[in-house]
Every structure is written in C-alpha cells, then in structure tokens.
Amino acid sequence: MYAELHALSNFSFLRGASQPEELVAQAKRLGYRALALTDECSLAGVVRAHVAAKAQELPLIIGTELRCTDELKLVVLATDRASYGALSRLISRARRAVAKGRYALARADLEGALDGCLLIWLPREGSAAPAQQAQQAQQAEEGRWLRERFAGRLWIGVELLTGGHDARRLELLEALGKALDLPRVAAGDVHLHRRGRRALQDVLTAIRLNTRLSAVGHALFPNGERCLRPLQRLQELYPAPLLAQTIEIAERCTFKLDELRYEYPEEVVPAGETPTSHLRTLTEQGCAQRWPAGAPAAVRVGIEHELRLIAELKFEPFFLTVHDIVQHARSEKILCQGRGSAANSIVCYCLRITEVDPSRMSMLFERFISKERNEPPDIDVDFEHERREEVIQYIYRKYGRERAALAATVICYRPRSALRDVGKALGFDLAQVDRLAKGMQWWDGQCIDPERIRACGFDADDPKLKRLVVLAAEILGFPRHLSQHVGGFVIARGRLDELVPIENAAMPERTVIEWDKDDLDALGLIKVDVLGLGMLSAIRRAFHLVNEFGGSSPMRGELNLATVPGEDAAVYDMICRADTTGVFQIESRAQMAMLPRLRPRNYYDLVIEVAIVRPGPIQGEMVHPYLRRRNGEEAVTYPSKAVEAVLERTLGVPIFQEQVMKLAMVAAGFSPGDADGLRRAMAAWKRKGGLEPFQRQLIDGMQERGYPASFAQQIFKQILGFGEYGFPEAHAASFALLVYTSAWLKHHEPAAFCAALINSQPMGFYAPAQLVRDARVHGVEVRAIDVTSSAWDCTLERRADGRPALRLGLRLVKHLSQEGGARLLAARAARTFVNIADLAERAALDRRDLGALAVADALGCFAGHRHRAAWQVSGVERALPLLPAVTAAAEGIPLLRAPREGQDIVADYASTGLTLRRHPLALLRGKLSKRGVIPNQELWERPSGGLVTTAGLVITRQRPGSAGGVTFVTLEDETGYVNLIVWERVATTQRAALLESRLLLVRGKLQREGDVQHVIAQRLTNLSALLGDLAVVSRNFH
C-alpha cells in the first residue's frame, strides 16, 4: 500500500535522528511494503540497512538525496546493478570535488550520469510573496529541464508534513504536474523512525548549526511529522493515487546489495600466465629458496593441498596482490610480516609474506582457510609504522585512486563528545560543558553515569541536566563523521567507485570508501590490511645497529628475521623471569604476571602466551584451568572425542577464537554458515549488539548433545570476551615470532635493542626512562647526550673492551628542531666545534635550539654546567652577513651556581624525559622512610599477606575492559617496580589521588604467588608535591 521512498538515517550526519536499522525495523512494523534509504549524497548507511532488511524481509531500496548547487533537490533511486554503479559514481564525483565531509554537485553533473535510476523531484517551497511569480517560472524551468532528460523515470514528490498549508501545497504540485505532464508520488522526508526522536533531531540540528537550541529558530522542524507515519494517517493525508505510485516505483527497484561481486585486480599476473600458473611458479621459486636442500615431504603435500584449495576458491589474485605489496616493501627495505589465517599458510611462507617457519610450528594446528568456513581469506600485513605511508602510496600509484581506497571507520559519539555537543546545544556554557566532559574519564566506558555528573558539582536532579543526560545517552553511538580505517585497503579490478562511493579523507592524498570493515565483511568484500607496527620499526633498527656495529658474534653483519637463531634456551629463561621490558606483546603488566606461571619454553608456548592474556580467555575463565593442567595439578580430560580433536593442543581448554568457532560446530551443531554469522556478530556486538540469538542456539545445541550447561555458558562468555579484541591463533602465531625475535635481541644485544626502541618512539608500553633504566640494569653503559658525540638517533659506541655502549641521541632533546639537529650534525662532520659560539654560528642554530641543548645538558663539554651553558647560549646573537659573529667573548661569565643534584634531575626529566643520575626517589628516601615507606626491592623480603607502605613514581595506569573495574598501576622507585591492584571501590573513593598523582604513596596488602607479587591498594596518598617541578608522565592504557 505504501513504500517510503525518501528516508534519511543518521548517516546523513547531524540530520537524521535514527539508525538505519531502526528505520528498517519500524517500517516493517508499520506494514510498509518497502523502504528506500536515501541519505544525503551518501551510501554510508546502506549496508547496515541491507543486513537489517534481509533479516526482517523488508524490500530495501538504495538511493540518495541530492541538492545541486542551484538548490535543485532530488531523490535518486537505483533500479539495478548498472544504475547503482552510476549512482555511486555520481556520489563519488560530488564528494571528491570538495573537502572531506561535503559535496558539490552542479546541475550539469546530472547530465548522462544517472542511467537507469529513478528520480523524484522535490520542488522548492515558496518563501516570499513578491518573488512568487519568478519562483513559479523557475520551478517550471527546473521541471522542464528534468523532463527533457529523465522522462519516464521522473516523478514529482509530494511531501505533506502538516505545516498548515498541505491542501494548498498539494493543489500547487498537482497543477505543476499536470502542466508538465509528470506523475506525482507521495513521500515523507523521513528523518526519524518514530516521533519520540523529535527532541534528538532538534539537538542534532542545533549541533549542525553550531548554536543553542533557543537560537536555532525556524531552522528547526516545526513538528515531528518527519517520522515513519502509520499507514492510516498517510491515507488521511494523501490521495490514494499518490500512495499507489510509491508501490509502482518500489517494484521497479529490484537491486539488492547482494548482487555486488568483488573481482580481484588482474595486473598482478604477467602476460601469458594464468593466476593459477603464476602463483604456482612463485610458490615453487620461494620453496626452493626456503628449503635449498629440497622441501620435506609433509611440506610438499601441504603446498599441493593449499594450491588446490586456493584454485578452487579462485583466491589466487588475492595472494598475488598481497605478494606484490610485500615484494615492493622488501625492495624498499621495509620490514613486514603477514598475519591472519591465510598468512600462516606454507604458500605465504614461500611467498615471504610471513617468516613463521611451518616446521617450527610443528604443524600443530589447522593453518589455512577452510572451504566449509566460507570466509574470505584473511591476511593482514604489518609494516614498520614509520614507513607504512610509503606502502600506501605505492598501492595508490599502482592501482589508481578509482580502484584502490581505504575502508572507512565510522567515528561515533562517545560520552565526552556527546556531553559536549548536546550540552552546548542545550545552552550550557563552555566552561560547564568542559567540566562535564572532563569528568568522564578514559575508563568510564561507554555510558554516562549520573553519579559522575553529580561528582562534577552539578545537580543531577535539575531538569535541564536531566534532559542533557537523557539526550546524551540517546546520541551515544550515533555516527558523527567518517574517518579512515587504520589500513584496510580495498582494491578492485574495475572502477571501485561503481562498487561504493569514494570520498576524500582528512589527510591529503588519501581517499576512503564510505563503508567500514563490518560493512565489507557483511557483503563478503575483501580488503588487504596494511598496518603499521612500531615493533617492526624497532626490530629493523636493531638489526641494522647490530649489523653495522660488527664484532665478534657470528650473527653480526647478517642478522634478519630469518637468521635469528631459533629456540634459544637462555632467551626462554629470561622470558620465564618476566624480564621482558620492551619485548613485543609480553611487556605489559598482565603479561608479565602471567609469564612466571605459564613459563613458556618453546615457540608454541609463546603463541598461547600472546593469546591467553586477552579478554576472551579471561572472561571465559579459561586461564586458571589451563595453568593448572599445564602444571599437572589437574587431569587433562575432554568431554568428547570430537572436542578432543579441537582442544588437544591447548590441553582441553579453549583459548583461541578458532577453537571456539570450531566448538560451536562440533559441539553445538552450528552449520558453517551459522559459524560465520557468529564470527561476524562477535566482532561487532560491542558496537551493535546482536549476539543473543546465537546464545540460545549455542546453549541449546550443546545441551542437546549432552554437554553440561556450565560448559556452554562458559564458552558463550568467552565469545563475548573475544568481541572487540578477538585474537585468533593465526594472528598470535605471527605475533609470537616478533615476541621471540625481540626477546632474543633484548637478551643478546641489549644496547642495540634499547637504542632501537628509543629511536622508534612513541611505541610500546614503556617510556624511554624505563627502557634506559632497564638497559643499565642489564649492564649496558649508557652515555649522556653530548653535542660532540651524539647523532640524532641513539647510537652504539665501542667501549674499551670492545662491547657496545649506548649513546643517547639528540632526538630526546625536547624543543630541538629536527632541522637544527641536522645542521648541527653536518657542521660537526665538517669540523669539530671549538666552543658554543662556533657551534651556534656554523650550525646556524637559533636561540630556541641552543636553549634546548643547554637545558638538556648537551653543551656540558663547552660550558661546564647547564646553568653556565644557558647563560652563554642566551647571549649568542645570529651573525649578520658580512660582519663577524658578535660573540660573548668580550663579556665574562658571571658567577652562576652549579645546579644541585635535584635541580639537575628535574631539568633532565623536563628536557629528555629521563636521567642518568640518581633516581629522583633516592633523594627523597630519607623523607619517605620517615613515613614508613619500604623500597620496592625490600618488599620481596616481607611476608605475603602483610600490610606494607610503598611509594613510587606512577609510570603506568591500566584499566583493561576485561578486569571488572580493576585498575593496575605500576610504581617505580630507585630499586625497581611495584605493581598495584586497585579495586573499583578504592578507585572510586580515592579517584583524585589515583588519577592525579605523579608520586603515589600506597598502603595496602602485599600479595605474592611464586614469582609474582603485587600490593592490593587500600589507601592512596598523593605525594606529588614532594617532587616539585619534576615532570613525570604516566602512560595510561585501556
């Protein structure tokens, strides 16, 4: 009876006030025959609508609302694949023409651009009486122009929204239609799925116009009629023929998003070869390199199996595309490493997409894509984070911008932004809004708690504030704009813009498609993830430093990912001691606490270690059972033979995402299709929900097959935990290689490893201060920054005994410009500096750069102490052309007191973030002792369970989502670290001390289990005042 042909979702940012899914569900509920999603010059929301419409069995029409620069307004609907392509292309064109977030469309752009699309013309409403004549003439002109081009697929849209003049409007449009011989159709200009969203729609309008609601005036809609209205009401409003037209149009629009087929690029195959033959050739070549003496029989069998499966699924071009990218990176000496289920194939090992040697993996687990799992191949490639951009630009160059683009990330409202924007719209002043938003901490999660608002000093019962809380909660999760995905590339054979609209990203030289990774996944489209990984930069740098330094070790000179000696017992010893500061992945608090318990002794143990300290296994309560079984405290049993096959390699305890998926199939009777649906729902439930149907199916299925309900519940909890942080075995296996490599470097080449980590900052869990401290503990001599010896990066210097010492680099000097640093190094290379004036003149350094060097104590060789250096550099004036530099030679140096140790330490921290002098707490030890504070090292001598008082600089705070509100804090003193566990109750009541302290004093209970020790905090005291100006910055993590 009625199909809504003009509906905007909240993907028309700050216009639509309902999610696409809500529109679909409401249209279905009201008995609409179809719904067109017509967001303004965008298809960003269509995949979500498509998925919902498929589930609800409501025909969905893909379309868009367009407003030309001359105000001509249209709704365009796609009828088939070709017209969808044309529509997508037009949107891309309009969006690419101007900056991110906007579009520009001239009337001329419509010419010949919308083949096969249906058009609903929305003539303007009148504005002022004297202009009426001119306006009618213009309207008629618009109509004629459109009719000439789109006759037979053009309608006049009649939108009656109870503005008081509906009858007159209808009359005018009927007359216009008759004069131009155009059919009329009813439409609703829908912005909300139900009337209740009216307030939110008003708020969105105010946010869009950047003003207060009370000042928006007539830009607000006068009423809530732009909702999906009940059929009965539509019948009262519209003449029946206009309603009937909607069905006629809907029936002509048969296009479904399912029709989109992804086709791989062709140019990765040379002429005369097929994808299949070319992949085989490359694989054979690689195999010969990997196994010069001939591959073992098992490997040969594996290769044949994999190639057959790839051919069957026609995935060759995908492997070849990834190979091409990796090949390019390698030619540019960019370190990379693939991960993901397909990345761990022997084929990928031969293609050098991964360095994970299958023989090292003992072939323990299913390594490959499987046919029945029906999922697209998954290969993510990590590149050095500082050089990823080069790879991205290579892809754009090779495939062109109309064929390659990054996936989008939908940036949504979060508590802070929601409070800020809604608050401003409701007329709170900026200071209030700021105070409210700041009250929401990084850890408060995705909801707005009135309690927090009260804590910010607001009266939560004030009606204005209540409105704010309700509306801010309503807007949470609403999309605000599209941003670029970290590295998900979509590359197509033909024009990508006919598959999905492409728009400009905020970064220059970047384009993104309008869909995010869930959208692509839902449609089965494939992307290649080009990701940046800091540790790869660090490892490459460490290899380089070691190879350059040379020396006695046999590996020096040719160290790389493939030549790092495997399975070194000393390296595993170090890992078991949790001596892993700086090591990839296993340096976090939680990982360090796990290492002495799990005691990894081989590569596969590292794979488990990487995967087990994650929300999935933790929430599924799988960690302790696994540890008990591993330590022989519990028998290894399996509920059934089928389950044994799945869980054998993890002692009967499910740890990896793949195992859980497999369990759903063998133990709960999921079909491969169900399992795939579960996998996708799992990845998205935190953002969108939708796991409940699977819960029933899983639990019922398992109980039917005789498994205990508790087991089923546990598996489901684990599924929830995998959610956002799903970490499959395939990824863990790739990461484990980097864990081992970085651990090997730390153990055998600590100076190079530390230098490489600092040179790759920011990355990892620890700041340079902790990295340097750790290196010194391990016997590395660390030398201070000095303008006569330091390079920009940290470097290795040869000691008298031939071992390397670490020389800190100029990069650590705060406020020193990189250009200034480069000039300094160039001038020094020409001739050694004789004094500060010489340095300043030849390196052409300005006072700012010189001041930075003086404050960093890098001029000590010339000036004595940093105070004298500061006096000298501030007197240096830039030489005028033709005149000799005016130096301070004529002037004496006044008596400046040498800095005391405390001052030096403060200045060191302020300028370089670390000190090579004593630890700041060493100076305070006397005062701390008076307060009963025990040095961290001495805690080991105290009995577990006793009350202790300890204190230290706060170096990290972490509040993992999986830890049930617990905050982990690490404190550092001159003797070492102590780990705190702060329960939610303590964190809430002593929030200020917890969040604001630089120096924290803690009284609490000591708890020790084997080699793992922490303090359960009871009372926190902020002692930061003792530090004066000492700049200690804690790194905070979720």
Partner: protein, 504 residues
Amino acid sequence: MKSRAAISQTADLFAATAFAPVLAPTTASEPMAMPAPTALLEPRSASRPALESLRAAGIPPAPQTAEPPRARQLWHAVVFPELVGDAHSTIMLQRLSLSAQQFTSFVSIEPPNALLLEIRGSVKLFGSLQTLLADIDAAWRRLALRTCAATTPSTLAALWLARAGKRIHTEDSRTLSGHLAELPIACTAWDIDRLQTLRAMGVTRMGELLRLPRAGLARRLGPATVLDLDMALARQAAPRRAFVPRERFWERCDFETEIEHAAYLETALDPLIGRCAQFLRERQAGVLALELRLRHRVGPATRLRLGLASITGERRRMTDVLVQKLSGFKLPAPVRGMELKSGSLQPLSAGSLDAFAGGGAGGQDGPSQLVERLRARLGEAAVYGLRSIPEHRPEAAWQRIYELRLVSARRLGERRLDQMPRPVWLLDEPVRLSEPQAQPLNQSTLILEQGPERIESGWWDGKDVTRDYYIARQIHGARRVPGARLWVFQERRSRCWFVHGMFA
C-alpha cells in the same frame, strides 16, 4: 601542619636554590644590586615621551647620582589572591579601586589581581603609616577578602613583595634590594619565556638575578627587564595611570523649609536638571535613566525611578519626564531635600544628537517623547515595543522590549508564503473553549477554515507544546451569521481545544 612544612621544604629540593648570602661579584660588569644613590622622577611629571625615549635607547640609563634616598612617594600594593584574572576580576578590581579612593586620590589597577595606592600624602592625613595601613586592611577585611600588601618607595618592589606574600612596609629605598633578594622570580609576572630563560641559568630568586651584570642581562632578556629592575630598586620612576571611576551625575539640594506638595518641587528641580544637562553636554553623553531621591525628616528617602525611551542629554526632555512623574504624585511625607542621580553615561549617537539639537527649538513631540509621556502617565511597564523571535511556538515568537529605538520598527515576523497566516492579536494565555463549544466540529459554533498546522516544539525549556492549529470562523445563532475569525488549536495530548488569537 607538620606535613605541609615537609612538603614545602622538599619542593625546594627539586625546584629552587635556596637563597644564600650574596658574594661580591668578581666580574668587571656592574652588578644590578650595587647600592647607589637614586634619583626619583615624579610619576606625574615624568612625561611619557621622555620615558619612551629611555626605553628606546636600549639599555636604560645608569642611575644618576642625586639627592639622598628620601623617597617622595610611597606605594602601597595590595594583591587579592582570590581574583583569578577573569572578567569578574576586572569588575571587582574596579569596585575595589573605588573603595580604595577613600585613602588616596591615586589608585592604579594592576591586572590581574592587584591595586597600587600612592599614600605618601595620606600618611599625614591619617596620623601615621601604621594607622593608615590598619585602616586600609580593615576595609578589605570588611569585604571578607583575603589580601597581601606591601609598602615601599617603589611601585614594582611593593607589587612584587605583595605578590610573593611578603608583608613588608618600609619607607627606606636602600633596604629594597635586601627585601627583594629572597623573592622567587615569578613574582615579577614576566612572560614565561623570560622566566624560563632565567631558570635555565639556575636563577630562581631575585637576589641571584640582581647579581647578574646589567649589560649581559639586557642583551639576553631585553632592556625592559633591566628597566623593571631599576624601577623596583626605586632608581627609576615607574609611571602609573590612576584609575578614573565611571562617572555619573549626582547632586543634591536642601530646602530651607519643608515642601509638602509635589507641584512645588518642580521649581526646585529646575536648576538641578539644568546642571545635569550641562554635565552631560560637557561629556558628549546622555542617559537612559534618572533617579530622584526625596529626603524626609524621618524614614527612608522616597525614590522615583525614571526610564527614558532613548538616550538623551536634553534638558527639556528630562524636565518633561520628571514633571509628568511628579504631577499627581502623592508625597508620603514633607520633603527636606532632594538628590538627582543619573544612570550610567552613554555616548550620544548621531541620531540622538539630532534630537538634542531639535529639542531645544521646542518643535513637535517625536515618538520618543510620546512614549515617555505615556509611560509617565500609565506606568513604566504599560508601554513597550514588540520584537519577533524566530520560533515555532507562537507564544515564544515575540518579546517585549522597553528601550525604544526608531530603527527598531521592523516588520513583525517574516512568514513564509505558504504558511498559515498568524494573528497579530495573541491572547496572553490560550483560553480553553468551554464545554458546549468544545466540539468545534459541531458546526453550530466554529467552522475550521484552514489547517491543521501542527506545532511540536519547545521541549528544551520545559514548555513543550504539541498542538494542531486551525483558523476558525465563529458562527452566531440559528441564522448562522458569520462572526470573528479565531486562531484555535487542539492540544494533541489532552485533545482539548483552545483559542489562542483573533484575526482583525
């Protein structure tokens, strides 16, 4: 208490070098703090150009040898730590400086939170310095304000000491360098760059700063720094601009006999108004309000507030309004004297100047005068203008305005062509249609001619409306005589009907 002491000590450990006795500088350059006889310039006599030229010369002149150090000026600085430099502080400082004028005629505002008072002359007046300082302190205490004050012969020294929380009161400029030595350099409130440069050299106290050679210091931190130090040591005068309070006209006259009838007051008022108009003319200013206070033998004064429709300084208009107000006014008690006080002074615009010129000629009353007459008769609130506000809710779509300007006669609410017309006559409150008329569809009483116009808006201020508006025609009697056109609506939640307005 104990812990606080510990904290401050240890903060020192990292933050600052404790002050130690000054060693005689060994360098050839002249140190800043060498005791030297000072020449003082009068702030009022030191012309700005002269000082500019001093600054422009780069290094300020070395102190001249002149008279013995008997300071001719004495500066009292008071800092209000609770003021934080926002807009509120600015207003507060102005108020406080008004209040400080009871102690001296020379008060200077030192943003963000201090005042400087020149009190040499006042010392005699108040008997002694101690009495004066006690009185000043008491004034702030009455306002429940926390303060810190210092008194020295130098402006900057007083200010810096007060900022640093040192309550030092001295008339001897020779002791200044000693007093300043222990202050942290932050008390100068110099820009952060200068302070950071100094800290990098390990200079954290004024004493260390004063020991540095002046030529070297000027080169590094600029001549202004050295000039500041000279001012602080009272070797150089520091010109200050005195605070001028906001002006109002305020005069009184006392009668020899008590006046019992308002009519007699007019005559007495005339010279006051004349002086007021003269006062305004001299300042090229006008006012929007006047206040007349009638003082009685007992009881509080009677206050008469008069609003003017536009800014004026015109004698005739002011007289007119006052006379209108007084005529028919019943005096509560005999009057012994009266005061005329103007509102704050407003600059006269070109338009009001015209009126000013024309008014003297005694021409016809303009609209402003008419409004004033009406107001004086009917009351201040009875005459007002209307301003339309873009809003969907009819009752929120306009606003009363009392300050009338000729240009404000804008057309009421530009409406879109195809929207329903709205009546000009809107009821203050919608009137619920009584029972028999509650079914307007029953065509015996009201015929809905046009509509509905649905309005659902205004939830944000707690007055959400959800209504369907119609234009309705009233029908009278059995013969169905057409009557007035009404603007009615049906409340959507309660389904009740209301009349909201009437079409002409």
